[in-house]
């Protein structure tokens, strides 16, 4: 298995506040890593650093054996990214938006139609191709965000809360899509929804207050805890302490 992402002693501070504190991990092709953690734990900041949107205060990130700080453009070509909230250019139509992304991603014109068709089909966007993005429902917006991330068939997918705002059927579809792509890519998703980790992830990493607390498979995560507990219980124990304490 080839290592696609290597994160070494990654730290990010905003003034006195340490958002990400000394996180290290590596990710192979075929793995789906779930970032779990309470709001403000540092999940989004970590993803922003891997995609090159923020630069780390300390530590290094290697993507496909290249340092993100040294070769930002080459690395960005290998990554498909859905930022938090899936921001889009509201005045564009879905089709024009996808064409723009394909254009900037330098997809050759001979493959352009197929690439767009695939991205559209996988996320079921056929009916809204000519609609302006700002007129779409939250679910559709999210799916357009996902389709722009997979249009160039990247080695690495980084998805910040990809199923937020989707209805149960759409969630199911997106999870199915992630599973389909899992064998050929390295995928990182962040989520609050623990069943999602169970459904799609091969590894779960719990982050709280910028620190990595645990890095195991979802099954192992359950193993160490009392019988009958769910991932929810494990999550609460690890991030707060005793689950019984909160109320």
């Amino acid at each position: 298995m080839s290592v696609l992402i290597e994160v070494d002693k990654l730290t990010k501070s905003f003034g006195p506040f340490i958002a990400v504190d000394n996180i290290s991990f590596s990710l192979n092709r075929g793995e789906v890593l779930g970032f779990l953690g309470p709001n403000g734990a540092g999940k989004t900041t970590t993803m922003r650093m891997i995609t090159g949107f923020l630069s780390p205060t300390e530590g290094t990130i290697k993507v496909c054996n290249n340092d993100v700080a040294k070769y930002p453009l080459q690395i960005k070509e290998k990554i498909g990214y859905v930022p938090e909230g899936a921001p889009l250019y509201g005045e564009m139509t879905v089709l024009n938006f996808l064409k723009f992304i394909a254009d900037v991603r330098k997809i050759p014109s001979s493959k352009l139609d197929i690439a767009i068709e695939n991205a559209v089909k996988k996320l079921g966007l056929e009916l809204v191709l000519y609609q302006q993005l700002e007129t779409l429902s939250k679910g559709y917006k999210r799916r357009v965000g996902l389709s722009q991330a997979i249009i160039h068939d990247p080695d690495i997918l980084i998805l910040d809360e990809p199923t937020d705002g989707l209805d149960p059927n759409q969630k199911h579809e997106v999870r199915k899509l992630i599973k389909e792509m899992a064998s050929t890519k390295a995928i990182i998703i962040s989520t609050h929804i623990l069943e999602e980790v169970d459904a799609v992830c091969t590894r779960a990493m719990i982050i709280a207050q910028g620190r990595m607390i645990i890095d195991k498979s979802p099954k192992e995560l359950l193993k160490g805890s009392p019988k009958g507990s769910t991932l929810d219980d494990v999550f609460r124990t690890l991030t707060i302490g005793n689950p019984g304490e909160i109320k």
Partner: protein, 244 residues
């Protein structure tokens, strides 16, 4: 290069997909007409030239250009689309240039649409068309200067109103730096050489030179280096936000 053009294309389409483009062009044309005929005294002057048209351009741009430039980066920051843009394989300078070019081309389109003025003056008399061409060129270069300053300021904030107001203030200083309002402040306690330098930064004096019909390379270099300088600061400002 292709990447820059992709961004430029997207931006220009964006102007025309919203009412922004049409509102701007219509207001620009109406205002430039009003200024030329009423305040500039186009007929009263009794001369077949476009001096009364071009003389008002610095003041027209002072308020209209910041309205275009304010959204260039502030809107991306507010909507979060800057995260999408800057995680595509695009360098910061490509993004800055692409957006600036789009705004500049858009201004050029508005400027070209003032051509009835040119036709009118040719119908009424026998103007020096060489001078008019030089004036159009000067006007476009000056618009580029205003836009570059505006783009740079827009990258410092996510609030478009702040970008608009600050851009007007900074552009005002550049516009009038050759006038007594600025020079009187410095004269008396600064050496003449510095005074001349400040005066030479004036948009109006550099633009007026070009509207005289003399294409002086110094005026062109002035505007181009101003654009380059402002856009370089623009790139630095965007890159520095990565580190915070």
């Amino acid at each position: 290069m292709n990447t820059i053009l992709s961004i430029t294309k997207r931006e220009i389409n964006g102007y025309f997909a919203t009412p922004v483009a049409y509102v701007f062009i219509v207001i620009f044309l109406i205002m430039s007409g009003l200024f030329t005929f009423y305040m500039g005294g186009f007929y009263e002057r009794g001369q077949a030239d476009l001096t009364s048209f071009f003389d008002w351009h610095p003041w027209l741009y002072l308020f209209l250009i910041p309205a275009i430039s304010m959204r260039l980066w502030a809107e991306e920051r507010r909507n979060g689309t800057i995260e999408l843009l800057m995680t595509l394989p695009i360098s910061t300078s490509q993004a800055v240039l692409g957006k600036f070019l789009a705004a500049w081309i858009f201004t050029a389109i508005s400027l070209i649409l003032t051509f009835p003025m040119w036709i009118t003056v040719n119908y009424l008399g026998d103007p020096d068309n060489g001078t008019i061409v030089a004036s159009y060129l000067g006007s476009l270069l000056m618009a580029g200067g205003y836009l570059a300053i505006g783009s740079c300021i827009s990258s410092l904030t996510k609030n478009q109103v702040i970008a608009f107001v600050v851009t007007i203030a900074v552009c005002f200083l550049f516009t009038v730096s050759g006038m007594p309002i600025v020079l009187n402040f410095f004269s008396g306690w600064t050496p003449q050489a510095l005074l001349d330098t400040i005066a030479s930064f004036s948009f109006i004096s550099n633009f007026t030179d070009l509207t005289q019909g003399v294409i002086d390379i110094r005026n062109i270099i002035y505007f181009l280096s101003l654009i380059l300088g402002a856009l370089t600061l623009n790139v630095i400002s965007i890159n520095s936000k990565k580190g915070i």
